[in-house]
């Protein structure tokens, strides 16, 4: 692993965001819109209903944490797409860069995007709704790590599909995280899900993270069981994603697809 080459991949994306106002705006725009829209919706629902204590906290907490997963995935996939759109992939893949270094560079970009988005949402939630996500304390850290890990697994997998199937698979960059959303029990407890979906949701790391978040907001103690299951699942998800990506990359080299990506 060569840190200079990993840094170069990060630097390429950093320059891009510095130079492109629409891209920079996008990093701030969607988190802001989400917080404004869903924050007011949750306040309205809280006022209209008496049976949902802590509704605003549940909703905003879930929204902020879901965005972490989404940004972590996007940080990888969209960064890869940027090189595809710029017809720059071939130039990158003929350098001494190794594929694991490329992935590491994209992971760094993903971390930066998560930090920016999380900061924007947390500050707005505090200013507009007096919701302090940091009240969850240090337990916030394992929740975030697990969401980032799942986002990375989805991002690596999606990037592999785009590498293999080209522009036709581009839509996955935006859709794949939302495919998992209904099963992740983001805005509602797992208990409300029908039995079959409940079984599916057990195998999704994010569902355990959001259950853990609700346990913490309710001050029902430390969600150790949920965090252990989420961590084990994430290890499996990341391992599968990396293996699939490596196999896909090998297939892409065999089929000579890199020069054709983006055509």
């Amino acid at each position: 692993m060569n840190p200079k080459r990993v840094f170069a991949i990060f630097l390429r994306q950093a320059y891009l965001y510095r130079r492109s106002f629409p891209r920079l705006l996008e990093v701030f725009y969607w988190p802001t819109m989400d917080i404004l829209l869903w924050g007011f919706v949750s306040i309205y629902l809280q006022k209209s209903s008496t049976g949902l204590p802590g509704f605003v906290a549940f909703f905003l907490g879930a929204l902020i944490l879901w965005d972490i997963l989404f940004r972590a995935q996007q940080g990888i996939t969209v960064s890869f797409l940027e090189d595809m759109w710029a017809r720059n992939l071939l130039n990158i893949f003929v350098t001494p860069l190794k594929i694991n270094e490329y992935i590491c560079g994209l992971l760094l970009v993903s971390v930066l995007k998560v930090i920016i988005s999380f900061s924007v949402m947390s500050v707005l939630a505090g200013l507009l709704y007096s919701f302090n996500i940091f009240k969850l304390g240090v337990m916030l850290i394992p929740l975030i790590i697990n969401l980032v890990a799942m986002g990375w697994a989805l991002g690596i997998l999606t990037t592999g599909f785009i590498l293999r199937f080209g522009q036709e698979a581009e839509v996955l960059a935006w859709a794949v995280a939302f495919l998992f959303m209904p099963f992740s029990a983001v805005f509602y407890p797992v208990d409300v899900l029908p039995p079959v979906i409940k079984t599916i949701s057990f195998f999704i790391p994010a569902s355990h993270v959001f259950e853990g978040m609700r346990t913490l907001i309710n001050s029902d103690g430390f969600p150790s069981r949920e965090l252990i299951i989420a961590t084990i699942l994430n290890v499996v998800y990341l391992s599968v994603a990396l293996i699939v990506f490596k196999l896909t990359y090998r297939k892409v080299l065999k089929d000579g697809l890199i020069p054709k990506i983006g055509e």
């Binding site: 320059y15 130039n91 990158i92 350098t95 860069l97 065999k254 089929d255 000579g256 890199i258």
Partner: protein, 243 residues
């Protein structure tokens, strides 16, 4: 096959097929240090596939490729530090400035003094005054020069060029050719150059490889080829071979 001590590229019995159609058939080639080799052939002849195999972008079905005596399939990263590539069909990020683009590639190639190397190649290709311009504002000629500057950022021992003068106006194309000749003669850089332009290859290259349907039809210096096939000029010979 005779092994030359200064052989930089060795290709042995290379086969590659896409969807059961052969792109390369039993290609064997040895390229020595300082050679300027032109690969010519019609569209779909296998020129670009051959370059991509040399860069490790395509895994061959059979055969062996060695650069600097090292196999490309297992020593790719090591080899590519000493090689570079430019193509008129590949671009660089348009939002980034000339200098930013070069800086990224300087890091990717592990160049010791990235900022200094960027300055040097910008001066070499006459794009220094454009260093703070986003690549999107460059003309096609300037963009090609940026591509070539990128290709020189690691001072490569082997330079692979895929139709680098396509789309350039005659003046810029001439400047580019002169620069490549200078690099080849003064630095002893080994250059592999694919082109459709036979006259260009004739002017530039010390050796010409004619390829069609994935097979090498002829290989030698222009003089050798004309004598071997009893032809007056390369263009006529080319058309008689690829017809």
């Amino acid at each position: 096959m005779v092994q030359f001590p200064d052989t930089l590229i060795e290709i042995k019995s290379l086969w590659k097929a896409f969807a059961k159609k052969h792109a390369l058939k039993e290609i064997s080639l040895e390229i020595r240090k300082g050679e300027f080799v032109g690969i010519i052939g019609p569209n779909g002849a296998g020129k670009t596939t051959l370059l991509h195999c040399l860069l490790g972008l395509i895994t061959p079905d059979r055969g062996e490729i060695r650069l600097f005596g090292l196999p490309i399939n297992s020593k790719r990263s090591e080899i590519l530090k000493r090689v570079n590539f430019a193509s008129s069909y590949v671009s660089l990020p348009y939002s980034l400035t000339v200098k930013e683009n070069l800086l990224i590639y300087a890091h990717l190639y592990g160049v010791e003094y990235p900022a200094q190397s960027c300055e040097n190649v910008m001066k070499m290709f006459d794009i220094h005054p454009l260093k703070n311009q986003p690549a999107r504002r460059l003309s096609s000629g300037q963009m090609m020069r940026l591509n070539l500057a990128k290709a020189m950022i690691n001072n490569p021992e082997i330079l692979l060029l895929d139709e680098p003068t396509v789309g350039l106006d005659p003046e810029i194309a001439l400047k580019t050719r002169n620069l490549l000749l200078k690099l080849n003669r003064e630095r002893g850089m080994t250059i592999l150059y694919t082109s459709h332009n036979i006259k260009e290859v004739e002017t530039l290259c010390s050796r010409v490889v004619i390829i069609n349907r994935g097979e090498i039809l002829a290989d030698g210096s222009v003089e050798e080829l004309l004598e071997r096939y009893d032809s007056e000029e390369l263009e006529a010979l080319y058309f008689s071979l690829v017809k």
